[in-house]
């Protein structure tokens, strides 16, 4: 295991992981890879986020869509759990709330495949301090 021994090590590592993550997100086939984040804090899991995450992993494969499904923490929209964030290549991330398997299927068919928005979008209601993200 690589050990971080200096601040320089950390910066190099940061750049390396960043490009690795970028690669994962966009890849060479930037046109095709979609990224899905599932909010998996206690609220999310209690409302079925685990099932939704599994559903997306299985369905993307079934429907031959290249994508990355990862978990993340609380997005803050506890009233709308389970919530997921979908980032289409080249697009701003979109958050969907109250996602059950039916809604998930609709998101895949309409938004991921065709780019059509579907009901249940949650508009981002906060600013982040990460300048890259707010751009």
């Amino acid at each position: 295991m690589t050990k971080v021994k200096s601040l320089d090590d950390l910066r190099k590592m940061r750049d390396a992981v960043k490009s690795k993550l970028d690669l994962r997100e966009k890849g060479d086939k930037a046109e095709k890879v979609v990224q899905i984040k599932v909010s998996m804090a206690t609220c999310g899991i209690a409302s079925g986020a685990k099932e939704i995450m599994t559903y997306f992993i299985e369905e993307l494969e079934h429907r031959s869509i290249e994508g990355v499904v990862t978990q993340t923490g609380c997005m803050g929209y506890c009233y709308a759990e389970p919530t997921i964030e979908v980032t289409l290549p080249g697009e701003d991330p979109v958050v969907f709330g109250f996602v059950d398997t039916k809604k998930a299927s609709e998101i895949i068919e309409k938004y991921i495949k065709k780019g059509e928005l579907v009901d249940g979008i949650i508009p981002a209601s906060y600013e982040t301090i990460d300048k890259e993200k707010t751009k």
Partner: protein, 597 residues
């Protein structure tokens, strides 16, 4: 790729839906059809925009035009003007109340986003179980900077200058606390993370630990560097298995990268973290109790001084900070104290995370700059009151806080303003109550909690809170007298004045603040024998309206205690002496003939 050229986003949040946003959607769809735009424009319902005051809200995509207070009648105009002719409907655009400028592009409407995420910066963005994602967002850079480029004094100065105050409730300046611990000489010191979030109705710390555990680990290491501690302990509620799991993974990963352990960043600094589990005692949020609990003892507090910074865990200097406080540290070091202190009010800098819950539409975890008003939090971010009911009060500070009312809605929230209105910041629980909530019952609810959670060490908290609860019980039973109100007030003041620790010193706050703000409601209970909110069962009476009753006998058959009598096809009567107020009859009645008085 996209089939539609235009999207019309209509807010279908509860608040907007109450103001007919569903009808707007219908009308929009009809207008689209009328204009044969079915293939080009799609209407999409969204969750709350957090701007409910000006709802219903409609947003046109892709040009981001933001229309406010849209009515169903406006739908066709939006389609014919905005979509077909490409002209903005000026009268529906938002006008900035300060500058009187019309703002059309929602991208320019940053101010409507009341929230800024600092402590929650990574929650919902990164995979908390992957240290790489944390590093990719500048994780551990602050620790590296501190260890390799700054002296402990410089780091502490930065924290002091930032104006960061403890987010656990007390609001003690964090930098100052670190400095005190640093100055005490000892062979061993400890830093502790208080993750014993016991306030019922608060989940800020859990969310941070579940969403961004590394930020806490990094900050604890920075704290260790500044205070001279080589060991960190996280005292975490056993009721948070997911947070524990993620914290364990994060600690393991940090160790593997050498971000915890010996000679971190090639420096002399060594630091590691252990977990200690709470076991269900609210009082352990008090730092001396927490330390006792970590030592394997009953979580009883000690009289301070000595403060933990002088004599804490195992008698050694110990710096205790809460999760949210820690989560702020790395960014402050990276972005600088100036950046941080520019946010917030004069004496309370930065942001505060609140767990917004209760009778509010958008229950959730929010982070707002200090100085945001309660109105903005409840009505804009929170989307207003559930089921269109009337706002009555908001409880901040949990069992230690107080109930604030309509008149407090426009006060900018910070440590001092909340104290001034008889409540407190607390850890960040914010419970909204509506017209159906009885304030006496609410005070009783909190006292029940305090009675159950009192450790029993000091008299006022052990017996005094019990007596407070008993008096409140008596009042909600309709047996209270005016003298009881006097007793309640005197006892509350004495408990605050004489209790040993923060739990007892604040436990009467829910009583005092409701007595102050809802004096009429207390009076109604003891003088008129009525509960205006209709919540206190003993003060309620179920009655049948003889006009509306058709004598179907359904109610009398469902009554479990045979309290309802009456001939078939004749108006029925409820005998209040027998009625147990279960409400079964009211549920069954098809003619709305039964009501509560």
């Amino acid at each position: 790729m996209a089939k539609f050229k235009n999207h019309i986003l209509v807010c279908a949040g509860t608040g907007c839906r109450a103001s007919q946003s569903e009808l707007i959607v219908e009308n929009l769809n009809r207008a689209i059809e009328d204009n044969n735009l079915g293939d080009e424009v799609q209407v999409v319902r969204t969750g709350c925009f957090g701007f409910c005051e000006k709802g219903p809200v409609v947003k046109m995509m892709p040009d981001n035009t933001f229309y406010v207070q849209v009515t169903p009648a406006d739908a066709s105009e939006l389609v014919t003007e905005h979509i077909v002719k490409g002209r903005k409907v000026n009268r529906l655009l938002y006008v900035d109340p300060d500058s009187h400028k019309v703002i059309s592009d929602s991208k320019e409407m940053g101010f409507y986003k009341k929230q800024i995420r600092i402590a929650l910066r990574n929650c919902g963005f990164i995979n908390p179980e992957n240290v790489d994602e944390y590093i990719a967002r500048d994780g551990y850079a602050a620790l590296g900077k501190a260890l390799t480029e700054m002296t402990p004094e410089q780091v502490i100065k930065e924290i002091i200058d930032s104006g960061l105050r403890g987010r656990g409730g007390g609001g003690f300046p964090t930098g100052l606390k670190w400095d005190i611990t640093r100055k005490v000489k000892a062979d061993q010191k400890y830093v502790v993370c208080n993750a014993d979030e016991g306030d019922p109705g608060a989940f800020m710390d859990r969310s941070i630990l579940e969403g961004d555990p590394h930020s806490v680990i990094e900050a604890m290491a920075i704290n260790g560097y500044c205070t001279g501690a080589s060991k960190g302990l996280v005292y975490i509620r056993a009721e948070y298995p997911l947070a524990i799991e993620r914290l364990k993974i994060a600690i393991k990963q940090a160790r593997e990268y050498g971000l915890l352990g010996e000679n971190i960043f090639g420096s002399d600094f060594c630091f590691d973290i252990e977990l200690r589990y709470g076991a269900g005692a609210f009082v352990c949020g008090e730092e001396t109790s927490l330390i006792h609990s970590m030592e394997g003892l009953r979580g009883e507090p000690n009289v301070k001084p000595p403060f933990p910074s002088e004599s804490g865990y195992k008698g050694k200097p110990t710096n205790v900070n809460n999760v949210e406080t820690y989560a702020n540290i790395p960014v402050i070091l990276l972005n600088g104290s100036k950046w941080f202190s520019a946010i917030g009010t004069e004496k309370s800098k930065g942001t505060k995370v609140f767990a917004l819950a209760g009778k509010v539409n958008n229950v959730g975890l929010i982070e707002v700059p200090m100085g945001t008003t309660l109105r903005e939090v409840i009505f804009d971010i929170g989307g207003g009151i559930k089921d269109g009911k009337k706002f009555k009060a908001v409880q901040t500070g949990g069992p230690s806080g107080g109930c604030l009312t309509e008149k407090h809605l426009d006060i900018p929230i910070d440590y001092d303003s909340l104290l001034a209105c008889g409540s407190m910041m607390g850890s960040g629980g914010m419970i909204v109550m509506d017209e159906d909530d009885c304030m006496v019952a609410m005070a009783k609810f909190y006292l029940e909690f305090t009675v159950e959670e009192s450790c029993g060490k000091c008299t006022p908290c052990r017996i005094g809170n019990k007596r407070l609860h008993e008096i409140l019980e008596k009042i909600t039973q309709g047996k209270g007298t005016k003298e009881d109100l006097t007793l309640l007030r005197n006892l509350s003041y004495v408990i605050k004045d004489t209790s040993l620790c923060g739990l007892g010193q604040t436990s009467p706050n829910p009583v005092l603040s409701t007595m102050e703000n809802f004096a009429d409601e207390y009076e109604a209970h003891v003088v008129d024998g009525k509960c205006p909110a209709g919540q206190c069962k003993a003060l309620m009476q179920y009655v049948i309206d003889p006009e509306a009753c058709v004598g179907c006998t359904l109610c009398s058959r469902v009554c479990p205690v045979d309290a309802i009598s009456g001939e078939k096809k004749m108006a029925h009567i409820i005998n209040p002496a027998i009625c147990i107020k279960c409400g079964a009859c009211m549920e069954k009645c098809k003619f709305n003939a039964i009501s509560i008085q």
